[in-house]
């Protein structure tokens, strides 16, 4: 097997490049009118997520009990929500495959799209966002930014090994355009608005 090296690989591309073109400046565009929280709610609903008002962690406990019962398998990355399944950074990510619900707190939300942001710091084990059946997300309403242009000006992406914008549950419309929630990842995503 012949191995292409970095030098030969790049040299060929350098020789092929057209004359250099300038890099355009990207301005900050005006943000649409309306409260951030309201825009977040509308956008998330359109992407299949659910928003719940939180009073305290009791709201989360009640929601878990109601939806998954006393025997529901819950893994939590949120201090104060114990869960009954271990979650530790050094565990095998596959161990979450039979978990009913994961509980995580997002670092921030995005009004434009209804997205919530996580890194390995929020997830503890990244597979919690996908391998469990349902995801319950805590979000501080004060931590909602206007749009993607603002999100990608943050430094959070430069420190995280893994970062993700999650917008509603896993979905597919690959057969005849019929929307299915819960394609490979979580079947539902519920955002509980609760100050940190």
């Amino acid at each position: 097997m012949t191995m292409t090296t970095r030098e030969t690989f790049l040299a060929k591309i350098r020789a092929a490049q057209p004359a250099a073109r300038p890099r355009p400046d990207v301005p900050l565009f005006d943000t649409p009118p309306g409260e951030r929280l309201e825009r977040f709610r509308t956008a998330l609903a359109a992407m299949g997520g659910t928003v719940v008002e939180g009073e305290s962690l009791d709201t989360v406990r009640a929601l878990l009990a109601e939806r998954f019962g006393a025997d529901g398998k819950v893994a939590s990355a949120v201090p104060g929500i114990e869960g009954n399944r271990a979650l530790a950074a050094d565990m095998s990510p596959a161990l979450l495959q039979d978990v009913d619900a994961g509980v995580v707190r997002a670092r921030f939300g995005v009004a434009e799209t209804g997205s919530v942001w996580f890194s390995e710091d929020e997830y503890i084990v990244n597979s919690i966002g996908y391998l469990v059946q349902h995801l319950v997300v805590l979000l501080d309403p004060a931590q909602i930014v206007d749009g993607l242009q603002d999100v990608y000006r943050r430094d959070d992406f430069k420190a995280a090994r893994y970062a993700v914008l999650v917008t509603g549950p896993s979905a597919t419309a690959d057969i005849e355009g019929v929307l299915i929630r819960g394609a490979q990842g979580v079947r539902s995503l519920t955002v509980v608005l609760l100050a940190a």
């Binding site: 097997m1 596959a94 434009e112 242009q149 549950p169 057969i175 990842g185």
Partner: protein, 468 residues
């Protein structure tokens, strides 16, 4: 693809290849409607953003800047990635890409590859290379899995099985994954695929693979957009994550994502963002992350003065959804991974002879160019390809002769008027076998409109006094 690169292959007849699809009338009708629906949803999103056209200018400008400085940006990307513990590999060809994947897996004793959708691995024919060598490949995107099980290329970049109806999927799943072939309920089919696929993510001896939508030079980050979350499962569960990256995916900075992510899913599906937009920058502790940078003809294209702009493509599929020829001929008729208008300009860069019919599968209406989020001048490139193909004598003989006759006719007003005047009567009298003969592929699926009683020229002479 290696056959294509080596030029072994024979000329693809797009019109003939489309025939099988066109024969299935209910499929064509649905296909047309479904893709136009995506186009309409894209319009609703674009029209809702006053800055949309400015964003297209920016996206185009950023891509042209990056491609014209590509070696430097790749160098920065590689340096950044390596500084975070990512191992970077270089593949000039499809074969090299496939060999690297196989080597990474076989050296670690891994036997299963779970992957998210990647046009690049389809382009490289990776499954065809590693499966006979003992690697089980699980495509985890529903549409791509359907196409894998049916041994077909994806027929669309974003919705790979859009040419199939539910009954086709039911029959296919019944034949391959043991579901009830008579049950074509879409929830049942999607749930069956979920149950069939998910165990593969947690198997022993498994590696994960993703493609790459954007590669950020500033941070060495690979960005992957999915709606299923299957890229996140593929990358976050197995101990090895391989990302295959076409070199044209580079963008300079994280902040540029504020332009591209805003446009990608809006252009593709008419949703403001994909359900998952995932940014991979460094391996999880205790796991490995490998990037394979793939050239495979891209640097040759970058050197083509008229055609390098096609490298700006971000694979949203908007040009396909809007194209009247694509919507009615189906993606498989384009004979390669890339179909629709973008396929018509990319595929000939790999093998001009084989794909010489594709630039002719267009009405040159320009709609593809108008919806492209990075302003690739697709219809102009289609026209350019026709010139290049004609100059290289790759236009089939019959088409050449017909065009020569048409050229003489249209160049002479007297000859043209004389012919048109007699043609009206002739069209009414000619039996269909003369009009719809094998020389005229355009006639195959079309009926002529009624011919008017007189030509415009005759009507004008009668109704207007022309000052002599």
């Amino acid at each position: 693809m290696s056959d294509v690169v080596k030029g072994k292959s024979k000329r693809l007849d797009h019109a003939k290849a489309a025939g099988a699809f066109i024969a299935k009338e209910d499929h064509v009708a649905f296909h047309d409607k479904r893709l136009w629906d995506l186009r309409s949803k894209r319009d609703a999103q674009a029209h809702g953003m006053p800055e949309w056209e400015t964003l297209r200018d920016l996206a185009s400008g950023i891509k042209e800047h990056t491609l014209s400085n590509l070696a430097d940006y790749l160098d920065q990307f590689i340096t950044q990635a390596e500084s975070h513990g990512v191992i970077v590999h270089y593949a000039s060809t499809a074969e090299e890409h496939n060999e690297i994947v196989y080597k990474l897996m076989s050296e670690r004793g891994l036997t299963t590859l779970v992957k998210s959708k990647s046009m690049l691995t389809d382009e490289c024919k990776m499954r065809e290379y590693i499966e006979p060598r003992g690697i089980t490949v699980m495509e985890t995107d529903l549409g791509e899995r359907i196409q894998q099980l049916d041994n077909q290329d994806p027929s669309h970049m974003v919705v790979p099985a859009v040419h199939k109806l539910r009954a086709d999927v039911a029959e296919l799943f019944g034949r391959t994954i043991g579901t009830d072939p008579k049950n074509s309920d879409i929830h049942y089919l999607a749930e069956s695929q979920r149950m069939n696929t998910r165990p593969y993510f947690v198997r022993e001896k498994t590696a994960g693979m993703t493609g790459c939508n954007f590669a950020v030079a500033e941070t060495g980050t690979v960005v992957v957009c999915t709606n299923e979350g299957n890229a996140d499962l593929s990358a976050n569960v197995p101990p090895l994550h391989i990302a295959s990256i076409g070199i044209e995916k580079l963008i300079p900075r994280i902040s540029d994502l504020g332009v591209f992510i805003r446009m990608l899913s809006r252009s593709a599906l008419g949703s403001p963002i994909t359900q998952y937009t995932s940014h991979f920058r460094a391996p999880r502790p205790g796991s490995e992350m490998h990037y394979i940078l793939v050239d495979h003809g891209r640097s040759e294209r970058l050197a083509m003065e008229d055609f390098w702009y096609s490298l700006k493509c971000i694979r949203c599929g908007a040009c396909m959804n809007t194209c009247p020829v694509y919507r009615r001929s189906g993606g498989l008729s384009y004979g390669f991974t890339y179909s629709g208008p973008i396929g018509a300009i990319i595929n000939p860069t790999y093998d001009m002879k084989r794909f010489s019919s594709l630039p002719f599968a267009s009405t040159l209406n320009g709609s593809c160019t108008n919806v492209c989020p990075t302003k690739v001048n697709i219809h102009e490139q289609i026209y350019k390809w026709r010139e290049v193909i004609a100059a290289n004598h790759e236009v089939p003989f019959v088409k050449q002769e017909v065009l020569k006759m048409a050229g003489r006719l249209l160049a002479s007003p007297t000859l043209y008027r004389g012919t048109v005047a007699s043609l009206g009567g002739a069209l009414k009298r000619l039996p269909n076998f003369v009009l719809y003969n094998p020389l005229n592929i355009w006639g195959r699926q079309r009926d002529l409109p009624e011919t008017p009683a007189e030509t415009f020229h005759e009507w004008y002479k009668k109704n207007r006094k022309v000052a002599k």
